[in-house]
Amino acid sequence: MLKVKKDVVVIGGGPAGLAAAAEVYDNGVEDVIILERDFELGGILPQCIHNGFGLHYFKEELTGPEYSQRFENDVEERDIEVKLDTMVLDVTPDRKVYAMNQEEGFLEIEAGAVILAMGCRERTAGALGIPGTRPAGVLTAGTAQRFTNIEGYVPGEEVVILGSGDIGLIMARRMRLEGADVKAVCEILPYTGGLTRNVVQCLEDYDIPLLLNHTVTKIIGNDRLEAVEITEVDENMKPKPETSKIIKADTLLLSVGLIPENELSKKADVVLDDTTGGPFVNEGRETNIEGIFACGNVLHVHDLVDWVTQESQIAGNWAAKYVKGEYKRTGSKIKMKAGENVSYVIPHTIELDGSDRNRMPLYMRVSTPLMAVDINLYADGEKLYSFSEPFAKPGEMITVPLAQKTLDDLDDVKEIRVDIIEKEGQ
């Protein structure tokens, strides 16, 4: 068995891993390695061929492959070591990473710090338990995206999409452009799970109906999907049988949620948050296990890669500090609390000595769509900071920049609560 030592091991070569590794390097820790199971870097971005990436980070609109290539170039320019076709099998709490590939066999890497950047995967048909048969033609939107954009097979001609997450919306347009008849996008909730711009430019542009409060209640077909039964649901999400109708379709795409891929994290005894599906972290993105950091979709599912990049740079910066012995805790721990209408706030705690910290963004989501909101932060019940947004939707993560000076006088504070409430009169 090949045994090596590395200052920082980054698990995953998608947008999170690429940005984290470059940031580690730029903070003076050059002995950093990326382990990637695919044959190339980029994670999911190479199959996200649509535009809309990079508006925040680069202030220009790029496609997924273009966004990815900029960070791949960063890694290449720094001569950061990358192992492709390499599967990580285990991570221990004392930061030993076990991996294997065809050329070197089994590897043990002793890491000064580990950055978990494994991303997420899609919720599949099995998790939904839709009644009916189990024919071919029922697949996740991301799988269809890979077939269509990377491998060159369009997976069907008559398509129904269940779930209005961004990948579902993007694939509705993509399948339509490739000549398929996209009959409907069904969303069980009364609002879409994706970005509004994707509803406009993917559905409205092509007259694809978005059926809110609708779900698929039956899958019909033997070898291949022949039709689906769709049914309207009531306010308790119970199907109303009298509204059922059959739609002929050979393909059902599922865009019903993403799950952070934390099998390795669990092996390292990293504790996960039930709400996000990812680890509990402090503002440096360190998990409960010392020296193990997490960033990107393995931590919480983002809707924009720009914030994945930003978050991964935060993780990379602190992981480098950890390795250099410049990582200090303040000794007090402020807990972030998701208050009214807030489903979660990242980070979970603030506990690091941030003398050179400039701005620390808080990432959060609302639990329900709201118009004209005030985002209010309270330190142990006392108002700390407030700002407004024209609207807030569960599908769109909110980034709250927090200035250093806001955090300076919080030594004795135990808890910061975030409430997001509609302004009066709404």
Binding site: I150, L195, D205
Partner: protein
């Protein structure tokens, strides 16, 4: 006849709700946008909507059978299907470099179709 339409701006992920008052092709008032892009978007959306077209082109001898491409600038929404037809007939020899022009001045729009990644040749083993 004076009409009012509320649009969701797609210029960026912020998704401003922009209200446009117009009569035929004449814009009377635009409200609700947070930046100048919103103004341009709303004007174009009423007169002639345009979009970037991202798709793929077939590749010969590449590490992958397809290369992602996009139009270098927005093209009219109404000719997107015609553009797909033209790009669908193309096959490009690998290696391909990011930014490489795949179709020049597609449908006289002034937009080129360009590759959005590097794609090396397939390595024979």
């Amino acid at each position: 006849m004076k009409e009012t339409k509320t649009l969701t701006c797609v210029a960026c992920p912020k998704g401003c709700e922009v209200t446009v008052e117009f009569e035929g092709n004449e814009i009377l008032n635009i409200d609700g946008h947070a930046c100048p892009q919103g103004q341009t978007y709303a004007e174009e959306e009423i007169v002639a909507p345009t979009r970037i077209l991202p798709t793929t082109v077939r590749v010969k001898g590449g590490a992958l059978p397809l290369c992602p491409v996009k139009t270098s600038k927005q093209i009219p929404l109404e000719i997107i299907h015609d553009a797909m037809e033209i790009i669908g007939q193309k096959e490009v020899e690998a290696p391909i470099e990011i930014g490489q022009v795949i179709v020049e001045n597609i449908l006289d729009t002034g937009a080129d179709v360009v590759a959005t990644r590097d794609l090396p040749r397939k390595i024979e083993v």
